[in-house]
Amino acid sequence: MTTYIFRRLFYSIFVVIAVTILVFLLSRLTGDAALLYLPETASNEMIERYREIHGLNDPILIQLGRFLSNAIRLDFGKSMWQKVPASDLVLQRLPLTLELAFGTTFLSLFIATIIGVLAALHPLGIFDSLTTGISLFGVTVPSFWLALILIYLFSVRLGWLPTSGSGTWKHAILPMIVLVWGPTGYLVRVVRTSVLEQLSAAYLITGRAKGLSEIYLLFRHALPNAAFPIITVASSTFIGIANGAVIVETVFGWPGIGKLTIDAISNRDFPVLQATVFVVGIVVVLTNLVLDLLYAAIDPRVRLETNA
């Protein structure tokens, strides 16, 4: 098992390195890198000096080496806007985004499992139509629009919930609803399909013949076997929010990674953007690793394969 973890980690590190190199190349090949790090008002002398100090006149491979060795130490330079190390800023915002990501993932797993299982148990029933509806509108409702409508209804009209910010559980309700909306639509279809697949499996007939109750069959046999695709999709939901809650965080003024990204872009704060990409890359890698371990925990066959 440990060898397996190490091998997986080894491969995933390549993804982070590749993305970091990509960001580096994008910053160096598409114009003057010094301009990316300096405010727009910088004079020519300032730009020249910046180049000298930070070695932007060196050959590109040497620059890349320096960039990577700094990246490993999480040193991306200082934020131009807040004058603190960029990675500190990112790590400080990360918990708030993870909070949203965990909450959303579990909530949408919960809702999707209930509706999806009911839909699978009664094909063509009301929950089946509900599944179709949710999965359609999960994709086609723009999240920023849904967010604005919820703010209008619950904050402006009814005054029940705050319009933006973070801190109390009340602040988290609206962002959570908007974030749960899309993934649930996708997840519910996956749950329905994979549970339906299991329900027609021969081992369930055996179980039924033995006289096991339907509830027992469902929870003890069908659901664990259907869990594979469900967990895969749920983990991509998590990854999606851990770095892509840009729109929701912006609308609700939730000070997480997404808001930081947008602020970094509108303030032309390239060090922060770089640090964000790197940290997010690590989160992606870790999530995938946990996912693989979960696979192994759920299904003994996976464990056997990796040991062999």
Binding site: V139, P142, W145, L148, I149, I151, T250, I262, V280
Partner: protein
């Protein structure tokens, strides 16, 4: 089986063989009412947005302080979607904005489909090093959140219509490439490709005349869903102020404009967003119909089924009536 029903069978077989592709497609469309209304809506939208500068263009040119921030109203002088803070008709503005939103979606979908097909077919057909190279790039781009990648590129390259098209195309091709590669790998092992090679077809001919036509069906379905995702991403970017820049307008930008006046004029943000929602829904609904229509085998089979059930239904009705 008596003579008459035999004759009927013969006739229906003849009729089935003679029915054209378009007739089949329309028959299937009519049988699926959701797709039918989606297609009608999309056609109407495209015509209206193409005609909008002539049709409603005059309504958004002049600033009309007499009627600013009017709520939606129906009537000869009414504004069905209300007016904005300069007194401009929102319906007209949404139609004008649809030109940008729809054309960006069309260009990006066309571009990323072509790019994805090309790279996917090459990877799946030639395999080896080039396959590895292309697929590792795909893996990398899929492993990484696309919105963040898009934002990084926009930071460096700047925003604006042309940049949005470029960025969305360059990040959007991976899905098509993956599917095209898998299909190509399956097809190249089939007998008809082997036969083609035996009679001396060059790779180029096999790719163009034997592989590509077989990918059209699945690509068309992906493309109609691609419209949904491009419309959503573009509107999201524009909403954030990272996409389309004024004086150009797109639906996402209109929602962003309305955001500031949410408390006193909800219609400013509501209707552009509803336009995004309905258009995306329509594209997503027709994907099912497209998947049947572009596949010749499925198309005729489904059309026959629909017709048979229709005839059966009429027969039942006749029986009940008599």
């Amino acid at each position: 089986m008596d003579d008459l029903s035999l004759l009927e069978l013969k006739f229906s077989q003849f009729w089935h063989r003679r029915r054209s592709t378009i007739a089949d497609a329309l028959l299937l469309l009519w049988s699926d009412k959701l797709s039918f209304f989606s297609v009608i809506y999309l056609i109407a939208l495209v015509i209206a947005s193409a005609a909008s500068p002539v049709w409603v263009g005059s309504k958004i040119v002049k600033v009309d302080f007499e009627s600013f921030l009017q709520p939606p109203s129906i009537g000869v002088n009414g504004h069905i979607f209300g007016t904005d803070s300069l007194g401009k008709d929102m319906f007209a503005r949404i139609l004008i904005a649809s030109r940008v939103s729809l054309s960006i979606a069309a260009v990006v979908v066309a571009g990323s489909t072509l790019l994805g097909l090309l790279l996917g077919i090459i990877a799946g057909y030639y395999r080896g090093f080039i396959d590895n190279l292309i697929m590792r790039i795909v893996d990398l781009m899929m492993a990484f959140p696309s919105l963040l990648l898009v934002l990084v590129v926009i930071f460096i390259a700047g925003s604006g219509t042309d940049k949005v098209i470029l960025v969305l195309t360059l990040t959007g091709w991976t899905g098509y490439a993956r599917v095209a590669r898998a299909e190509t790998m399956r097809l190249r092992e089939l007998q008809f490709i082997e036969s083609a090679r035996c009679i001396g077809c060059k790779n180029r001919r096999i790719l163009l005349h034997h592989i590509t036509p077989n990918l059209i069906s699945i690509t068309a379905v992906l493309a109609s869903l691609g419209f949904v995702s491009v419309i959503m991403t573009e509107s999201g970017l524009s909403f954030l102020g990272m996409g389309i820049q004024p004086p150009d307008v797109s639906w996402g930008l209109l929602v962003a404009e309305g955001r500031g006046q949410l408390a006193n004029a909800w219609w400013l943000a509501f209707f552009p967003g509803a336009a995004i929602l309905t258009t995306a829904t329509a594209f997503s609904l027709i994907s099912n119909w497209i998947s049947v229509v572009v596949d010749p085998v499925q198309r005729s089979r489904m059309a026959n089924m629909v017709q048979r059930s229709n005839t059966a239904a009429t027969k039942n009705v006749n029986k009940e009536e008599s």
